[in-house]
């Protein structure tokens, strides 16, 4: 089929609008869907028991959500290689976020990330049980 038979003078406008609609579809969908996605699907704020000695988290929520792993890795290098102590610790996260299952494991399980942290580092409540389970396997 020739292009000229598709794009006749009459339906040229229709084809153009369909193409334009296809191109704009993702943007339109994201605008329409904005109220329905987002915060509700995130497992909420995980502040089980805020410690009164801390006003805020070490970084803002947006940073922590997407870059907490960079922060933890950088801190780890500093602590282990350079001996800079007294900063962020894994156990320190547990001061406010008491429930590790909700705070760490839920999201990491959703993206099938297997965290090795708790084999060695202590986190309140569930760490011991996990090691017992792993050793029994």
């Amino acid at each position: 089929m020739k292009l000229s038979t598709l794009l006749t003078r009459e339906n040229r406008g229709r084809v153009a609008s369909v193409l334009g609609g296809l191109i704009l579809l993702p943007f339109v969908l994201s605008l329409v869907g904005a109220p329905f996605t987002g915060e509700e699907e995130m497992p909420g704020v995980f502040l089980e028991q805020p410690d009164p000695q801390y006003e805020n988290c070490v970084r803002d929520a947006e940073y922590m959500r997407f870059q907490h792993m960079d922060l933890l890795k950088d801190t780890r290098e500093q602590v282990i290689r350079e001996g800079v102590k007294g900063g962020i610790t894994l156990a320190g996260c547990g001061d406010c976020h008491r429930n590790r299952e909700a705070f760490c494991d839920r999201c990491h399980a959703a993206v099938t990330l297997n965290l090795d942290c708790w084999g060695c580092h202590y986190y309140p409540e569930t760490a011991a049980e996990r090691i017992a389970a792993r050793n029994g396997r």
């Binding site: 780890r76 282990i80 290689r81 084999g119 017992a132 050793n135």
Partner: protein, 247 residues
Amino acid sequence: MDRRNFFKTTGAVLAGASGAASLPVLSSCTSEPARAEESVLSGKRWGMVIDLRKCKPGCTACMDACREENNVAYHGDQRWDIHWLRKVQIRPEDETVAGEEKAVLLMCNHCDEPPCAQVCPVQATYKREDGIVLVDHHRCIGCRYCMIACPYNARFFNYKETEEWPNKDYPKRSHGVAESCHFCAHRLDQGGRPACVEACEAVGAGALVFGNLEDPDSEVSRLVAEGSVKRIRDDLGTEPKVYYLGL
């Protein structure tokens, strides 16, 4: 100008020009980036003097304290037990020679030229600025080269995890990583002293003396300067920082 001289002069000119051109590039590559602040580890070189004459026979206070402090795995099975500190009985090799049997406390010697760090394929074992030989257990792949390289048999491997966790403030080790004494680096960084040294003082022996070898006024420096100290396998050139009195 004949052919030979032509090549000589052009070669010399080209070499000089390229050398001059590459100099600033090279110097910019090798220059160290400026450190913003002085490291907390600088000016220190930790060492230990073990006075075997004061070490009580049958006493295990240092070893027990080490286990409690560092969550060193004890399974009650020789194959899997880990000993950051251990006492061995030594006696003269030639049985006809008179000599007393004595217990020697063995541990990681924190060599200045650590063979374990040299062989580590992932740089998990490394010597920190203050001379402590440490294992970054996050990086360790469990190849056990360091165990073979160590002339002091001070390295141990976690064949399995322990469920005991006496000191929750300090991490345990997962299975599949190597470990050894680290002079309680986590305590030193907070201004403390190794757990074994405190335990030895607590039982009244005071056989373990720990301090900064850089500081000429420290007790370890004084004992080392006296000259009667010995190091194990001093001939290997590993420059250990654990000294023995009465060995």
